[in-house]
Symmetry: C3
Subunit: 97 residues, 3 copies
Amino acid sequence: MNVTVARIYVTEGKHIYEKVFKRLHDQHKVNGVTVFRGISGFGRSGETHSSELLDMSFDLPVVIEFFDADEKVQEVLQTLEDIIPQCHVLTFAAQLS
Amino acid sequence: MNVTVARIYVTEGKHIYEKVFKRLHDQHKVNGVTVFRGISGFGRSGETHSSELLDMSFDLPVVIEFFDADEKVQEVLQTLEDIIPQCHVLTFAAQLS
Amino acid sequence: MNVTVARIYVTEGKHIYEKVFKRLHDQHKVNGVTVFRGISGFGRSGETHSSELLDMSFDLPVVIEFFDADEKVQEVLQTLEDIIPQCHVLTFAAQLS
């Protein structure tokens, strides 16, 4: 089955991931949501978020990954545009088996 | 070199990942196996597995990722069908360098 | 926007990831770098690196993921060839939104 995988890149500090997770769970009921915490990272600002930096250790990178039929994923991502900053979502095609 | 990446989505509780890992290592000797633990997730049942939920903190999402030549990956996945539930494996094409 | 995602697979022990991270940050200023620590893994040598093995718990798998325009990613990967062992980088196409 062809699916689209979405990976949403945020950090813990702004509590975006809890909001996104709640919507994916309660409202959209998408298949296969997994949240990963990174140990280091940086975005366009260049500011490093790392478990080795004490003041950043509560604001680590978080990736929310989910997959579903392409149409569903695109629809879900549109409804999340109000909480996810631009250029923070990757999508790619995969096969589910 | 063209490879296929497989990502197998399970949870820790059922000890599937140890079995899969052992087979990938001992029997199939595939290249590049990495296991990641997620901090939250849910599947088709909608039941949330999260490090923030005490009773779920020993049953967190686990992703077993590996890559190899496509033929090898498909062959390996077939031999794992007895232990991995349906619709828990994503595959996609990538370049190895 | 079409981007290329790169995933670089190393282990913690050799301090490769800190060097790669520093270059990606200071020199290349790529978009979207996230580093993940795995809980288990093995490479071509077959040697298992696992958080459950005491002598390997400081040498866990680490994945450095970043994305940018394809040309930029290829250029960056070339400059990293001196520190990343061969056959440890996956690249694949994705959409950024």
